[in-house]
Symmetry: D2
Subunit: 477 residues, 4 copies
């Protein structure tokens, strides 16, 4: 199946210096479909079947091609090795978008929106577009914001606020979330009871991996109870650590703002004698922000991410590398993802036991630790040389900004995709772009899909060629 082999047409014909065409056969394709509401699966026909109200829009007359057809799917992988001896089967998902026929009656819909966990640029854009989209695209009148995260579902009336498009008009220009957000508080029974008692028929849960796992549990509880209530999850992780989808919202804004911190660290480093600028960027399990920020900045001499081990001292270690870099250039800039080097930091017994409210193990702060270790090492190894290290932790200045234009558009398409899917009768799904095509993915697949930086990939290779940082291999031996 190798197209460059002589028999596949990549040969040396006289006109071969122009473009050439070669044809091959592909493995079979499997569609990984999302669940539906019981009512949407009813036989002989789903109930209700409602024509999409967009068709009756006063101004906009959608062309026939506007609606997604039942056969519209997106491919999980957009590239292959045709020469592979054992090609893996191809996977596809349903395309997101409006359907001509709804399985949900907008007039009876009652939507609940909830945000959980930490801030992320774009949260308010997602909320705005859910409110505006539900009202203006589908005429849903009952849209509620649930405050204080999942625990708001079993909170008082003050935690359930009716949301109107007029009030939501400029939310996308604001950082944070207009719904108060919290961590923890997940109590499945009380949550589902609360949803039922307040009459919600659709739930939009926006949050991190803990929130997605919670949404899976809620979805399964709905199913167990036989409820015609739909749920969709919108993954919120500024770290971009969720798999299958192309990227998470807010990520590009974070990379953009991280440039300011790296710039500042660079300025501090070059303005000092033997200066080091150290920037900690978000990324507990993955180093995407660190990696992208490094590639966008070019001022970084070393990028440390959770996916790659490193050692501090000794031949081939980080400190020696930095010392040599300083001798050569006069300064150095280090970017470290918050999850990097966790296993190197000395942890007290208490710290070994501790967990955060979402049940994650407590991360120790790699930034001050690295600064302190570096200072100690320099004082010991080079006591007569001046040395300065400036440490910057821009976390809260990054995650609190409004989304940039790219993320604003992305959040809009996400929110609208979620609404279209819910209205079509899907449930237990996540909307998201796969190789650029907005699609629906089963919530339970997303809840377990990781997205580590592929250190065999070219992007990491490019980081390496930009920074010229070593493998830290010898010292790992």
């Amino acid at each position: 199946m190798d197209p460059t082999a002589p028999n596949s047409g990549g040969g040396a014909a006289a006109d071969a210096t122009g473009p050439t065409n070669t044809t091959v056969t592909l493995p079979p394709l499997t569609l990984r479909d999302v669940p539906r509401l019981p009512s949407a699966l009813a036989s002989p026909s789903p109930s209700p079947v409602v024509p999409n109200p967009i068709s009756r829009h006063p101004y906009f007359h959608p062309p026939s091609t506007f609606y997604i057809s039942p056969g519209d799917v997106s491919l999980r992988h957009a590239f292959f090795d045709l020469a592979s001896a054992s090609p893996s089967p191809l996977l596809a998902y349903r395309r997101a978008g409006p359907r001509g026929d709804l399985a949900v009656d907008p007039a009876r819909a009652r939507a609940a929106l909830v945000t959980c966990g930490g801030l992320c640029p774009g949260l308010n854009t997602v909320l705005r577009e859910l409110v505006v989209g539900l009202h203006e695209l589908y005429g849903v009148r009952d849209v509620f914001g649930v405050a204080a995260g999942y625990r708001g579902f079993y909170g008082g009336d003050e935690d359930h606020v009716r949301l109107e498009p007029a009030a939501a008009d400029d939310w996308h220009k604001k950082g944070g979330t207009v719904l108060k957000t919290t961590r923890g508080g997940f109590d499945l029974g009380k949550i589902v009871d609360g949803i039922v008692s307040r009459g919600y028929t659709q739930v939009y849960a926006i949050g991190g991996d803990g929130t997605m796992r919670g949404a899976v549990a809620i979805f399964q509880e709905f199913k167990r109870r036989g409820l015609n209530i739909s749920i969709t999850g919108i993954p919120k992780t500024v770290d971009n650590d969720i798999g299958i989808i192309d990227r998470s919202f807010g990520f590009q804004t974070a990379v953009e703002i991280a440039q300011q911190a790296i710039d500042a660290a660079h300025v501090e480093a070059v303005s000092a004698v033997n200066g080091i600028g150290l920037v900690k960027l978000m990324g507990r399990s993955t180093g995407h922000i660190a990696l992208h920020a490094t590639l966008s900045s070019r001022d970084v001499d070393c990028c440390l991410i959770p996916e790659v081990d490193f050692c501090l001292e000794g031949k081939g270690g980080l400190f020696e590398f930095l010392y040599e870099r300083i001798k050569k250039k006069g300064h150095a800039v280090v970017v470290v993802a918050e999850g990097a080097g966790q296993e190197l930091i000395h942890r007290t017994d208490d710290q070994k036991r501790e967990q955060d409210e979402s049940g994650n193990i407590v991360f120790l702060d790699v930034g001050p630790w690295l600064k302190s270790e570096l200072g100690r090492w320099w004082k010991r190894e080079h006591p007569d040389e001046l040395f300065t290290v400036k440490y910057i932790d821009p976390t809260y200045m990054i995650r609190a900004v409004p989304a940039n234009a790219t993320d604003n558009l992305y959040c809009t398409l996400l929110a609208h995709s979620a609404i279209h899917g819910i209205m079509a009768g899907f449930t237990g799904f996540v909307p998201g772009p796969i190789n650029g095509t907005y699609s629906y993915i089963p919530l339970e697949d997303i809840a377990v899909a990781k997205n580590p930086v592929d250190v065999n990939d070219h992007k990491w290779a490019w980081v390496r060629s930009v920074t010229n940082q070593p493998d830290f291999l010898m010292s790992q031996a």
Copy 2:
């Protein structure tokens, strides 16, 4: 092939509310390959075959998976309608990236970089990465910038400047191009003579559609003369009007900066009695910037693009729509792409004949025209009502900014992809992402590939739902 049909598994089984899998067969796949240098096609084996020097990198030891294999391809389309009665054949391109074996000896390579046409955010990042990548990835020592566009190839020595990585270090933080750029001056014979006489062995041409067509001609002239000189084109079009690739560099930066102009127009409009803010954005043949800027901003009441006809006066026309919007909201904001409404503007005979230096027909300035027509109409129809229209043309403030982080990363991957392709012996190609995968596309395919806004697509539908602007249909009747 419809996965929702009963026999394809989308049925109503008891557990059907969980994710389901369905399998189908795909049409055959055609690889659309790029040309190669004559020497790379030599038989029995290409000459030279040089191991990739990245393998000898002092710090970075690329894993076995680092190099692109001959069978690595990317898919042209990442989504399909499985239910389609007559599915179109699938198309693939070669994946971009480093190859283990080179068909070009870096020690003998002599690269020429040229930028043509107007400015675009990211130009300097592409140039920086070509210089740095050629030097640091491949050890190419002879890299030259050709000033003044294509005409620089037959210009004097002052138009051929040796470029070094140290000097290029902060180019990505600067707007514009460090090479002087011009329009026109394309003289095929003199250009190829100049390339030959200066001993260039690889040409990187960065420019718009005219520049790409020029690159095709140069490629064909190389082939006609049997020269072992490679050429690659890097499409530069802030308008995003080139097809096949996901988007053009600088586009997202442009959308980002356009927000400032729309914000200003919005402020002017809301601060006046019956105020209209009018913003002209770049986009001669396509309205991508206008569309994306509108979707990112939300303050826009009407978005006019070249792909959609509109009319000014009469029932259902633009002016009536704006008047009603003002009566309702007190103000209105209009975004117009520069290519919109060209056929409506009165053109003198001289203007009908005129062409610009690249041979394009001269565009009349839609912004002042629209402002003037609107003022005239208001004065005539509503003489007793106050009225203000503020017109903003941010063109040069947009295209002169440095690339944002997203575009900086994109430009890096583009430039490195170009280098890897050239070193592998490809020629007459364009590097670019296709559904997220960097690939090589025949130059001649790119030179004719348009990328109009798909007004049947959801993005345009979303614009319509954001702005609630009418179809302008009645008036076209």
Copy 3:
């Protein structure tokens, strides 16, 4: 009086290389006082006298030094030539700030706020602080915004909107004005009738020189009718063309944002062969923005302002200067204030007669004219040389931005000064900083005080040394 003369102590004593002290006598000082309300001048004592409610603030206990004393004045000129043969008499104004005793009863006060003319950064901050300050500092409950400028005073109820602190909370982060603003519509009788009939007891008029002249007329009409209504003017002129006060609000924000336009023009110029970047900045009668933007930017080769004549062609003219600069540096950047060169532009008979709504003569657009003249000249004089001129008019993108931090603070102090003065019984005044001290100045003095750029001063000299632009003297001969 010369301190450097031997007898004044500036001599050559052995220890004279340390700091020395010399004492001289100053001319007498004249206090230029502002008018008061008739009730505040009543004899034997003003009526009412109300203790300042700030003294009863629940949290803040002002120290005895908090209130301005009746003798507190500020000096008009903070520097002198002691050696001057005929020193001019010194002038002083009342210091602005809270008084211990009020001449106005906050409980009966009814304030009207109006904005007139074009936008200026900080307008909304002034409005916010008037609303918040009246409520929170003095407990004034009746604060109204008058929409549509002066004509709103005789408009309908919809033009008189009650303003509350809660709604005003984030106005300072918004560009423009929350009150619709208009030009013209000044009808003295109808305005004063409107003020009286709506029961306003204090008027805050924010606007340009026309608005200040209107405020003088209103003040005099109040006096003529014997009304106990006070009026204060807050000069709004982004051009900084009002005298006596240190600078006008929004000016520094404008200079800041103008950098973006100059940067863009500079990038366009350096990226072209023989490129010129041309930026028009605000400034009809004065060139302060052009001058400050030039000094802050350093990329400017020539700065043209209304206060300095120039000529285009011939020996020593602008075009020759630019040509030489291009030959030397490869490019040039020109900043032109909108009022520069008005007498050079060919004006049709119609244009000679035209006036704008505020009665100003119509300014012709110097930017496109200069661009066109320059292009014509180059084509004639240097037909075989490439040439590009890019013209940027950032006016609406500058004036619509929110105030920066410096201007936000300034607007706050201005608004609070206005309130304190009104509450003390002053009227017909303008608040403003004089050599850094906030003071009260008679409205009629401000209405005629011009603030041209002092071309004999060092700041203009610095522009000249930064740009090295010539005197354009020869050509004026």
Copy 4:
């Protein structure tokens, strides 16, 4: 002397509602002069006397008023209380600016520029303008940058770098300092020996209060040795804690950038249940940045500065105030200057003894301490209520940015003022604006002049009225 007393003209005459004039007599004025070089004091006449080369500028022909005359002085105080029983004597300083005759021959001048201490926005602008101004205004060809702070004077050749205008062209767009800066290393004998041995005839020392005290010592040592070497100090303190001058450079840029941190803290606070945003801003001995940032932002609920005591717990304490604010508004934002509350923080014996390199006592980090105390208090007092505090320390992101336009202009005028003074033969002085007029002040006066926030002044009162924070009085009892 009270102008409002009947006999001083502020009376109740019929036309008294117009502006009035009153005349008074002022106390005598004392000129506080700066030292001069021995050669400039030589008798019978200074040697050399060189005409200012600006008069021979090829393009610019300075008017007669261009040069500062010997009698030009600026007033120390621009406001008075005329009613004061015992008015203090008036003080004046020499105006800064170019003199017609120089006491220094530019052809023999050899200038040394040094930066000491931490970064501050505008450092590079000052350096740029010293280099460009010395070259272009006066034709000084020998300008050197001394690296590594004061210790560079006795360092090797690599610490003495010749500086040229072309290379300095874009320094003002860069943060940090192009000269490596350090703290400490002050060794008077070795510094002056180094200055003499390298033939420097003028020294420009840019740094904080320690640096200014060092400059006084160097000046006195020059005097003691009878050297014709001049020294000027340019105070660098982003905190604005130096007296006499209006403000220090970089301060306004710092206030501007601090807004971003406050915005982020505000977003974090409002997005949480019972959220507090805590921002630490620079200001060891003075709270100017905190105060100005608070006044510019309006989102701050409490501003803590070194000049005002506060207490944490108990009735009327900070924590109770914040709890009440949260109950009322749902969130709170606190800005704390780094020097605030130092006496409240528990200090170990080691910490009590510690000093930094400049000999200052070590400041403990008030931010994390306050965050921790607050968390402990909440957990104890309100264990059942959710609570979040997000802490932001933007220090290095603030001080590393380039100067904004306002500071760029200011730095230019400072640098040029320094050069003009040195060329006129002055030494041991500091240039700086006094009530808006650039002046020369004896270095020894500046070295001891503090600039605390005047908490009796209106600006602090405004902070109090903006934040409504209490006096913390009860708890201090």
